[in-house]
């Protein structure tokens, strides 16, 4: 272990040491902001075309570029913004902050300003997608609820084609293998209403980056993907806001300066109102309903060029409830779940080349169930009020400290290094039951530590070749057992011609926390558990290779990637395992499931090819994504040890998403998805399952009647092999028209759209139906497909000021 570490460190020192220390090098550094709002822009490319050297702004909009003295022409480009060219006579270190102006689409021509398009051939990273947050608004959404996760499912490599699920399967990975981070805080459950909506509110987000492979060393803790989301900071110059009314929810966002140019805030909220609309129709004595809400808030303060502080938080809840009053009796019950995260970040600029960020993070996911009952108990000598109270909670809380450094010694090196330490506090089951003669209060608390140290470098030895080596050392501690796992990472990109690059990557990842769920439908009862001495961390290795081509003439980018991923110690459930923790709960039993004995370890293998053709600018924008993939599992204790297709194995996945600006006032967006059927294990017969019956055995009266000494039991399902059936293919088209109009004080947008336009009967789940013919004593069993959503039109109204 130490040897591996030494080798990696030596490697880095050698790399950095090979740089040429020219005497007359000077540094240009600064922040890139959006003009008008002061919003810092991450991912802006700054490039010296003559020297063919460049860099990009980090998450906080900071850049630093060290170049030889002389007249330098710097080009600043960022998708959706006007290109800026600055000519500098470089003879000293300078600070150059830049205000970037959003570009406007030329409607007269379909020609696009090619330089405004992000150039995929110039980036060393691969298997990375930047979700265009502004495009999310232009695409149709279920009941008009714009959704980051649902849009992600339209990308190649991310499986789509499941009705009403926010679970992500990326490159054959399980639903719990995605690191969802919002302003550095891990979000454990991304579902509202069992997965029909996700918790991420597009109005409050600035950027969404998705890694499917080639993971930079700064990320760790999950095997299959990283979804890194950053909230907007809020407009530093003037107040702005938006409000929208949809079929099921309303949302509002307000942002503005607290101190002009120095400090700003953003508050964005959303709440459903089915419960409010139905309340008048409820009986006086009975009330039941459901709602969810999200609240995103962020404030920041700019203490000057050296220090900036950001405080952000997310809070969301789902709640089902019912209450009943009858005379003096009262009954209340319900369930609720939700995430809460909080992040404090402090940016500090040590000097022009060294940028630091210290982060304190808290994240909590909580699921709770409650029941309160008051009733009168009558005795011969009077009556007595009885109060029964039951609470069941399951939650996970993380406290993290993170320190990251960006060091840019020369134009050829960009180093990132850092450390993160997280205290996970799992409380899988806390149960309180109080009554006149009962007082149960049982709580479990498991505290673990997860740590990571990383270093990575973007090294450009020649104008054509870019290397991105990285190393992460991850550790996990649980009850005296410590795991230490090295995680090497490597990306390489070679520019073959002006607009074509070939890329390759390797990444090793470890995962120490696991989600137990076999409902597959995003129930909030899904439980997060820790690696233990018996449950080893999951480990994966992934190699990927591909090409990235910019087709400047049409503003298109094309990426083609192949990948092969193998995971060991992957977790699956043993045959017959059930993790529905709530069985028997109302009977006053804390039904703790012995989860360690219900899971089994094995290996996952997935491989495939992804193609994506994307256009981010112009009147017609969008993408076509296609994935051809295989995903197999091999577990000694499942399927007689033979390999079988994973439940999320999907051979073909095609998504087309596009929006077209018909005029200044009207635009249309449409999506079409096609996913070939995923596997399912279906009974192929009923097997007699009689048992030995001691009553009929010989110690009892002998068996003179010639009885067999086993007793009849109902037949049980016989499955043969796992994944022996495939669901029908899933496909669906959604469409939305948006009508904008500039009023005196605001712009209003009507959106009219429809989900599942051609009314495809997509499978939601299967159910069994029986028919009995008494006359002929015949029983028939049928399998029925349940579909959920026919064509559903929607309308929403939004004002932006």
């Amino acid at each position: 272990m130490m040897k591996q570490l030494q080798v990696c460190l030596t490697f880095f020192l050698l790399l950095v040491g090979t740089q040429s220390y020219a005497q007359n090098n000077y540094t240009i550094s600064g922040y890139v902001k959006e003009k008008g709002s002061g919003e810092l822009l991450p991912g802006v490319t700054i490039y010296d075309a003559n020297l063919q050297l460049g860099t990009t702004t980090n998450t906080y909009g900071f850049y630093s570029l060290t170049l030889p003295a002389g007249s330098r022409q710097l080009v600043y480009t960022f998708v959706g913004y006007e290109r800026v060219v600055k000519t500098i006579d470089l003879k000293d270190n300078i600070t150059l902050d830049l205000d970037f102006l959003p570009s406007t689409v030329e409607l007269e021509t379909v020609e696009v300003n090619a330089t405004a398009q992000e150039r995929v051939s110039e980036s060393v990273e691969m298997s990375k997608m930047i979700l265009p947050v502004s495009q999310i608004q232009d695409l149709p959404a279920f009941l008009g609820e714009k959704d980051v996760i649902k849009t992600l499912q339209l990308m190649p490599g991310v499986q789509s084609g499941r009705e009403g699920s926010s679970d992500l399967h990326v490159r054959g990975g399980g639903g719990d293998q995605n690191l969802l981070i919002l302003d550095d805080a891990v979000v454990y459950n991304a579902n509202h209403l069992f997965g029909f909506f996700s918790v991420f509110n597009g109005e409050a987000l600035k950027s969404v980056e998705v890694y499917k492979g080639g993971f930079p060393a700064r990320y760790g803790g999950r095997l299959s993907s990283v979804i890194d989301m950053n909230m907007k900071e809020g407009n530093k110059e003037e107040f702005h806001g938006s409000a929208s009314v949809g079929l099921i929810s309303s949302s509002a966002t307000v942002e503005g300066p607290l101190k002009k140019g120095k400090s700003s805030f953003l508050v964005s909220g959303r709440r459903t109102y089915v419960d409010i609309l139905t309340r008048p129709f409820m009986d006086d004595d009975f009330n039941a309903g459901y709602y969810f809400y999200d609240l995103n808030t962020k404030v920041n303060y700019d203490f000057g060029p050296k220090n900036k502080v950001y405080v952000s938080g997310y809070f969301g809840r789902d709640r089902f409830y019912s209450s009943e009053d009858y005379r003096d009796d009262e009954f209340k019950a319900g369930l609720e779940w939700g995430n809460a995260t909080g992040t404090v970040r402090w940016n500090h600029l040590f000097n022009q080349k060294l940028f630091a960020n210290a982060t304190l993070i808290a994240s909590n996911y909580k699921f709770g169930l409650f029941q309160d009952e008051r009733y009168q108990e009558y005795h011969p000598d009077g009556r007595e009020e009885v109060h029964l109270k039951m609470r069941y909670n399951s939650n996970i809380t993380d406290y993290s400290f993170k320190y990251d450094l960006d060091y840019m010694p020369t134009a050829k090196h960009q180093l990132k290094m850092g450390v993160i330490l997280t205290n996970h506090r799992f409380s899988p089951s806390a149960f309180v039951f109080k009554g006149p003669e009962t007082d149960i209060d049982e709580r479990q608390l498991i505290s673990t530590l997860e740590g990571g140290v990383y270093i990575e470098d973007i090294y450009k030895p020649t104008a054509r070749l870019t290397l991105n080596p990285g190393f992460r050392l991850s550790t996990f501690y649980h009850e005296g057992r410590t795991y230490v796992q090295p995680e090497p990472r490597f990306n390489v990109s070679y520019v073959v011609s002006k607009d074509l690059a070939i890329k390759a990557s390797y990444a090793m990842m470890n995962q120490y926390v696991h989600r137990l769920s076999n409902t597959g439908i995003g129930l909030p009862t899904d439980l997060w558990v820790s690696s233990t001495k018996n449950v080893l961390p999951q480990t994966s290795q992934q190699v990927a290779a591909g090409l990235a081509k910019d087709i400047d003439k049409y503003g298109l980018t094309l990426t083609v990637e192949g990948y092969y991923k193998r995971s060991i110690n992957a977790i699956s459930y043993k045959e017959g395992a059930s993790f529905l923790f709530l069985e028997n709960l109302f009977e006053g039993e804390n039904n703790e499931v012995d989860w360690e004995n219900n899971i089994t370890r094995g290996n996952d293998t997935s491989y495939g090819v992804e193609v994506m053709l994307q256009r981010k600018v112009g009147r017609l924008s969008g993408w076509v994504g296609y994935t051809l993939s295989w995903s197999e599992r091999q577990f000694d204790e499942l399927n007689l040890g033979k390999s079988f297709y994973a439940p999320w194995d999907q051979r073909h996945d095609l998504s087309i998403a596009g929006s077209y600006k018909i005029s200044d006032r009207v635009s249309v967006g449409a999506t079409w998805v096609y996913g070939s059927g995923t596997p399912l294990t279906m009974a192929v017969a009923k097997t007699p399952s009689d048992v030995h019956s001691p009553e009929l055995d010989a110690h009892a009266p002998k068996d003179p009647l010639g009885q067999t000494y086993y007793s009849y039991q109902p037949t049980r399902d016989y499955y043969g092999t796992l994944s022996n059936f495939r669901r029908p293919a899933y496909h669906r088209m959604d469409i939305a028209f948006r009508f904008h109009k500039q009023k005196k004080y605001f712009q209003r947008t009507w959106e009219v759209g429809a989900y599942n336009v051609y009314n495809r009967q997509n499978m939601f789940f299967y159910t069994t139906d029986y028919e009995y013919d008494y006359r002929n004593d015949q029983e028939y069993a049928y399998l029925q497909q349940v579909s959920l959503f026919p064509v559903i039109p929607y309308v929403s109204y939004k004002v932006t000021f």
Partner: protein, 304 residues
Amino acid sequence: MIKKYIIPFLILPIGVLLGSCEDFFLKDIDVDDLPPYEKIMVVQGFISPQQDSIKIALKFTLPTWGLRNQPLSEEDQLALRSAVVTLKDEERSVSIPYVEAQGVYAISQEEFPLQEGTRYELTVERETQRLTASCEIPKSNNTLVISLSEREKENDPQYGYEPQYLRLTWEDTKDQVNYYNAYAYKNEYYTYYDELGNETQQAYQQRLTYSEGYTSDYLSDGRWLEVEVNYYGYGEGEIKGVLYSVDEHYYEYHQSVYNYTGDNPFAEPQNIYTNVEGDGTGIFCAYSYDSTAIPTIEVEGVEN
């Protein structure tokens, strides 16, 4: 402008929606589109030296979908009667004939006595199909002790009396993996009137332990093991305890049958445990018990 876009756009899908709503949500799946019915042989045999005879049942799996409870065709019945069933140990081999009256393959232990500690191999052959399974008969354990706790004197007026606790304990045989079925019952009688109007008493066993009796010595090798159940019975009588020493196949099979979660839509698919190899499924397992050491206990003077 708005009308131009919205009206045709809204009318078309709403029309489709109304027209198709009824049939939309539920659709029967054609049986031909489902995985084909796997009709395979199922063997069931629980053998013990303390049985009078060795009995092996042979059945077919039944269809899951479509018509399910059809009686077996004559062809199938003939097929199940015409298999060659062979049982052998290291030295001996016997062919077990089909016994029409019992509907199973059976042979008296006078002809082929079974012995504790011996491994037996079963072979079933029918046309080109062949099933094999083997098991070893465990040695019986004669250390069982059963006891019944005292009844609480004051009974709860609402819920009746408190239960007593029936405890079965025994000493595990050290340095080997053991499985048990700890079983307790009480002989009861019910009264009925026969065709001539005579009062007749019929004995039956009131079972007191169910699946909780299946235990293993996992992490408790060589220790005293215990099974405790609530006893709600009353009246005079005799409670009998029987300690079955069972093999691993017996234990795993019964666990999987009793823990079957097939009716739970959120549970993973589960095949019932099988130790049968070849063209079929089923169970062939063994047990023994010590018939001379069944402790009894008198339950006296219980007031209702």
